[in-house]
């Protein structure tokens, strides 16, 4: 009786998290529409109704998932920035750290990375959610660009345009490295990918 409480105790939030995990895997694997709510529940080891107890709808689940993954990414990146020493001294080196860290994250979280690729521009995710998530993530880049422009290191193009361009180059890079996994560890290729990015931003 005493131990029963201990033994059967299931960590709270476990089911909700299990649902999110299953959904992530299945959405990436089969796409949103091809994944049934029943299959998500089954993979998570819960009843179909449980999904709808935690999320109002299949769409709500996707939106929630999207936000969660984006935040996780943002947190990881911001940790990386903080743990470095006196940042701001050498902007290019800061930028490179950011870039490589972001790509590392993608390579180390291949499912989440594919999730980004598939849903970052998909209309299946709510436009507002997408924008919100995007801003939270791209904030680092805005800060970096503004600082660089003040220092005369980064070209003086409109920030929104540069931001869009950064995002596009980042998506292209992670797609490239996941399509060709063997090159993800190739220092020269990794270096090249950053160079392409940096050249477009820096002043001549």
């Amino acid at each position: 009786m005493i131990s029963k409480t201990v033994v059967n105790k299931v960590p709270k939030k476990d089911k909700k998290q299990a649902l999110l995990d299953s959904a992530l895997a299945l959405f990436v694997d089969q796409g949103f529409h091809a994944t049934s709510t029943a299959s998500i529940a089954k993979k998570a080891g819960v009843a179909t109704g449980t999904l709808f107890h935690h999320f109002a709808s299949k769409d709500a689940l996707l939106n929630h998932l999207f936000m969660a993954v984006k935040l996780e990414f943002a947190e990881d990146i911001s940790q990386g920035i903080l743990t470095r020493g006196q940042t701001g001294k050498d902007l290019k080196s800061d930028a490179e750290h950011l870039w490589q860290h972001a790509i590392d994250w993608a390579l180390q979280n291949p499912i989440k990375q594919r999730f980004f690729l598939q849903y970052s521009m998909s209309s299946e995710v709510d436009a507002t959610i997408r924008e919100q998530a995007m801003n939270s993530v791209l904030h680092f880049v805005v800060v970096l660009i503004e600082k660089g422009q003040q220092q005369g290191i980064i070209a003086d193009f409109p920030i929104p345009l540069m931001l869009a361009n950064c995002h596009g180059q980042y998506l292209a890079a992670i797609r490239y490295f996941t399509d060709h996994p063997q090159w993800g560890d190739d220092v020269s290729q990794r270096q090249a990918s950053f160079e392409l990015f940096w050249r477009s931003m820096k002043v001549d």
Copy 2:
């Protein structure tokens, strides 16, 4: 009775084209899965069964459409290249023409442009079709890059990486200009978008 045949006669291929047109509009507007074959047929003014006379399945229709739009784009771009005078003299000016022409096409074909954005990376289109279409379009760019590298004008990074990067920047640009239509006619912004692209490619 006699005239009826004449009057009602619909030019051949009209129905097939009507189906493609309707499908394009609806797929862009509502997404692939949210668009029923019935609604496509209705918008095209034909019976539901007719769609399956012309296309083996809904998927086949999407693939066909994808290929058709990509080819149309490729053709338009290649026309643009041919109609220019002695190309090859000034590589940067060639590249700029290509870039601006490609963006113009997107701005002048907004539905098709959105179609690109939504389906270029979607798993709903067959991977082989996608790749095939991609190559046909990007071929111009390969040619350009190779020539530039030989001339020592374009940086000597691996071509597949540069290609992926180009594609990413292009998608970012057309998304930017369609999200902010008022800037599509702004020469300085258009110029800036090319500059970003060109800097990343050229040697320092």
Copy 3:
């Protein structure tokens, strides 16, 4: 091949009618909500999808059914009026014919009668449909009351009130006779039911 056409020929509208028939029986037997669309289709011998090919929704099916039954009733009653000889001479006898005919119809169409009882006031049927149907049926009664009031035979109360009262008495009568089937053929009871009705309407 020749006979095939004849043999396999299924009368058009058969499936739609079969669905209506099945729905009538099941709705009366189990109630609207307790009847699944699947069971209706099954009883009608068609696929589940077929129901939705003919009716936009389960609700639409109920509304359609309600209207159809009401019209059938109205038509039967109006036939009864027309086939009688010089009507209008003796108003009381006209009224009695109408009353007994209406009760006969209910006794001879027990399922449809129960359908009336259950759905005439149910909120499951669209309010507009209900009113529309009601008016078409009660029109005879309005005509009768107005004529009677002009002749000084029928009491001069507000017509809508009298109409509501008639309807209430009719529903009570058919419920009474179907709850006690053995009295439906009892002339004195049938006579009594009319007398109750007529006394309330006539002038003293």
Copy 4:
């Protein structure tokens, strides 16, 4: 800790009554099947499980509610009879009092009145409960009719038939007055509704 018990103490039966109140409002508003037990609990401010502590099932709740409302009505009517002076002297005046009082009750308790209209004949309420409730209420009427027949004032038709007829007329009247609220205070209409009823019952 001590005061907590006192402060939070909710008067017993409060929750049960709250559930009945919420159920009444929702059943009338949305119908029985369209009302979820969860919504009843929510409106009552209790947990979903609590409903099932007080009522064995959703059906049991409806039956309980039906009986309670009917009894409340019966009690109110019987109070009205008792508080009048020497009843029985003038039967018609007694009947009119009964009739007007019953209609007043309906007008003053619109939700309960709608509840009657919707569930008095609905198969969702247990047939036995319905009959039981009906008898308890109509008992006054039986007494009245029998007395009237003995006195030769009321027509000598079978009592069950007259009862059913009374009920039908009553339902019609309250529906009429709630559909047209402005006439509920119109003395002549109220008088007319009684006259219709009384004429059908009295001897010529």
